[in-house]
Symmetry: C2
Subunit: 384 residues, 2 copies
C-alpha cells in the first residue's frame, strides 16, 4: 500500500441535534478536519452515510456536502455499507490518495437519525439486513442481534451479566469525551435492572442512535506537514464481506469478515494482535464486542467476555477498547460511526485523550461493522 | 494514473422486470462480466445504485450482491452519486485496482424502479436535488430540467423541434441494441405530437425509467489476458461536482462539472475533443445532450443543437452519440446508467455493435451526470 497519513480530524458532539441539519453536521466535521490540518481544501470528498434517503429524503450527499463546505468543483461521492459506511468512506479516500487520483481526500461519516419517529428509524435500520429473507419475516435489527446473543450464551454458557463489563467500561470512558452522547457512569446493578429491548439484549447492551458527523483528511505520507505533532499513518486497511443474512452462515457466532479483514490488515502493517495498543471496536450490542475480540485474535472462540471480566479492556488494561465511549456511550450515528472510530484512534495516537489516554499508545486498531457482520472494514493506524 | 483495462462486460435488458429482483439483476450482470472475461471472481465489488433504500427497502447492496453472486468474503461497497452512481462505482473500482488495494475489481450499476408507483418514483428521483431548498418548493426533477431548457431556448433562440434530432438518433440506434428498453423508431412528426411532461420537455425529450444492471471487470493492464480480442484500457478518468442546487450556479446553462472532469480526463489521456470517435453522453433530457456537447468541447455555448440538426451525432457522423440508444431509448435505470455507458463504449471499441458500429472506433468518451449536473464523472477508453 502507498503510505498515507491522517493529518486532520474533526467531529461533532453526538446528540439529538434538532436545530442542525444533516448537511450542517457534515460541514462542521469537514471544516474542523481541514482546520485541524491547517488546510483549505482537498481534491476529493467521500461521505459515509446509510440513512439519508429514508430519514432526510436526500440522496447525493457527496455533491451536497462538498457544495455546502465550500469545496467547489472537487470530486465527491457517497459510500454506503450499512453501519460500516464510515470506515468504507475512509477506505475510499485512502484508495483515491494511494492511487494518485487525488493528492488529498476528505472522508466524513454523517448521520441524522432523530428527525424520524423511533419505529421509522427501526425500519430504516432494518435495510442493513436482507429485506427479502430476514426483514420480510418481521425480524428487526436488534432482533437479529438478540438471536446471536442467545445462541452464544447457550453455546458457551455465559449469563447476561457476564457482558456488563463491556458497557460499564464504555460509559466510564465516555464521561471524559466531550463529543459523546451518554456521559454517565453505569454500574453492574444498573445493568441488572435495565429494561429488556429484545431478550437477552437489554437497554444497556444496546448502543443509542444519534445525530453526528466525524471527518479526517488523508494525504500521502510525503505531503504530511512536519509540524511537531505526532505523525499518524495508516499501515493497514482491508475490507471483507460475509453473507448478508445470518441464516446463510455456517458459523453464525464467528465474524468471518472481521477475521479476514483483520488478518489482511495485520499482514499489511506487519503486526499481530499482541502489538495493538488500543482497539476501537464496533460495540453496537455487547455481543458484538465479544465476537469482535474473538475474530481479531484477542480471545479464543466463545471467550470474549473474559476480557471484560478480567479488566483487560479498560484504558489501563492490556487491550483498551472503546476508549472514548464506543458505540455504547459515545453513540452510534450509524453511517458516521466508522469515522468516529478513526478520529478517536488518531486522538489516542496523538496523546489527546486526557483521563482515558492509553499510555504510550503507538498502534491502534479500528473496526467498523455493517449489518450483522456482512461488511467489515479494519484499519490499523500508527504513530511514527 | 496506473493503467487499467476492462476485460469483461455484462448487462441485462432494461425493462419492467416484474419477475426479477434487484439482487438478481445485479447478479446477472456481474456473472455475465466475469463470464465474458473468463474469470471466476474478483477482489472487490462496487455497486452503483441510487434508489434501493426507497424503492426496495434495501441498503447494504455491496455485501448483498457479493453474497448472491457467490463472491464469498470479497470487499464490497455501494457508491452513490444520484444518477451518476454507475460511473462513480466504475471509478471506485478503478481506484481500488490502481492503488494496488485490489488486483481486480467489479463495478456494477443496478436499479429497480418499476416496483413502485410513478409518483413514488418521482419523489425518490427528487432526492438527487436539494431536499431543503429545491424539492421543498415543490419542484420535481423533470421540472428542474424544464426550467433549464426554457431558459436555454430563451437565451439562444432555439425552438423545441430543434432538439428532436437527439431523440430521433437515440431511438434509431436502440432498434439494434437487444438490451434497450425502447426499440422503436420515432420521427420529427412523432416528436411534434408528443404529450408535454413539464413544458417545454415533452415525452420524447425525456428518458424512460426502467430496471436493469450493467457490469465491468477491471484489472491492471499487465494482468489483462491477450486472447486475440481488442484490449480496452481506461486512459482518462475524472470526477467533479457543482452546486447541488441550480439556483446557486452563476451559469445555470453551463455544466461546469462536465467541463472540469472532461478537461481532466482529456489531459490524462493526452487527447482532445477532436480525437473522440464516439461519445456516450447523459441524455436524461434532450437539453442535457446539448449542454454535455458544449461542456465537453464539441460545440460553442448555446450551439449544441446544431450537432443534431446537421447529422453529426449519428453512427456515420463525425461525433456519434448514444450509439446504443442512450438514456432516451436504451433506458435510464438511474444508478445503472453510467455502467451501461461504459459497457457500450467497450462494445464499440471491440467492434461488437452491428448496424450502429462506429467505423474504426478507437477512442470513446463516456460521461455520467448525477442530479442536475452536480456530480459528473468522465471516462475515456481506448482500444490498444
Amino acid at each position: 500500500m502507498q503510505p498515507v497519513a491522517v493529518i486532520g480530524i474533526g467531529q461533532t458532539r453526538i446528540d439529538e441535534h434538532w436545530e442542525v441539519s444533516l448537511r450542517d453536521l457534515a460541514v462542521e466535521a469537514v471544516l474542523a478536519a481541514l482546520h485541524d490540518a491547517g488546510w483549505e481544501s482537498a481534491d476529493a470528498l467521500y461521505v459515509g452515510n446509510m440513512l439519508s434517503p429514508l430519514v432526510s429524503s436526500q440522496n447525493h450527499l457527496g455533491a451536497l456536502v462538498a457544495d455546502w463546505a465550500g469545496l467547489k468543483n472537487i470530486e465527491a461521492a457517497k459510500i454506503e455499507a450499512a453501519c460500516g459506511s464510515g470506515a468504507a468512506a475512509f477506505r475510499a479516500g485512502l484508495m483515491a490518495v494511494a492511487s494518485g487520483e487525488a493528492t488529498s481526500a476528505l472522508a466524513v461519516g454523517v448521520e441524522k437519525m432523530t428527525d424520524k419517529a423511533g419505529r421509522d428509524v427501526t425500519a430504516a435500520l432494518a435495510t442493513a439486513a436482507d429485506a427479502d429473507y430476514e426483514v420480510e419475516q418481521g425480524v428487526s435489527f436488534v432482533g437479529l442481534n438478540a438471536l446471536i446473543m442467545r445462541r452464544y450464551m447457550h453455546e458457551y454458557g455465559w449469563k447476561p451479566a457476564d457482558f456488563a463489563a463491556f458497557s460499564i467500561n464504555a460509559h466510564a470512558n465516555a464521561i471524559h469525551n466531550p463529543f459523546a452522547r451518554l456521559r454517565q457512569k453505569i454500574t453492574l446493578d444498573d445493568y441488572g435492572k435495565a429494561p429488556m429491548v429484545a431478550t437477552p439484549i437489554n437497554l444497556l447492551d444496546a448502543s443509542p442512535v444519534g445525530d453526528g458527523a466525524a471527518a479526517a483528511l488523508i494525504v500521502p505520507v510525503d505531503a504530511a506537514p512536519r509540524d511537531g505533532r505526532p505523525l499518524v499513518t495508516v499501515t493497514g486497511s482491508a475490507a471483507a464481506t460475509d453473507t448478508i443474512a445470518i441464516h446463510s452462515r455456517r458459523q453464525p457466532l464467528f465474524l468471518e469478515a472481521a477475521h479476514t479483514s483483520a488478518r489482511q490488515a495485520y499482514a499489511q502493517a506487519g503486526v499481530g494482535p499482541e502489538d495493538i495498543d488500543l482497539f476501537e471496536l464496533h460495540d453496537a450490542f455487547s455481543i458484538m464486542t465479544a465476537l469482535s475480540l474473538e475474530a481479531c485474535g484477542f480471545a479464543e472462540r466463545g471467550q470474549g467476555p473474559r476480557l471484560g471480566l478480567d479488566g483487560a479492556i479498560t484504558p489501563r488494561g492490556r487491550l483498551p477498547v472503546c476508549t472514548r465511549g464506543g458505540l455504547k456511550a459515545r453513540g452510534h450515528p450509524v453511517g458516521a460511526t466508522g469515522m468516529y472510530q478513526i478520529v478517536e484512534v488518531v486522538q489516542q495516537l496523538r496523546g489527546e485523550c486526557g483521563p482515558t489516554q492509553v499510555a504510550e499508545a503507538r498502534i491502534g486498531l479500528a473496526q467498523n461493522i455493517g449489518g450483522s457482520g456482512a461488511s467489515i472494514i479494519t484499519h490499523i493506524l500508527k504513530r511514527d
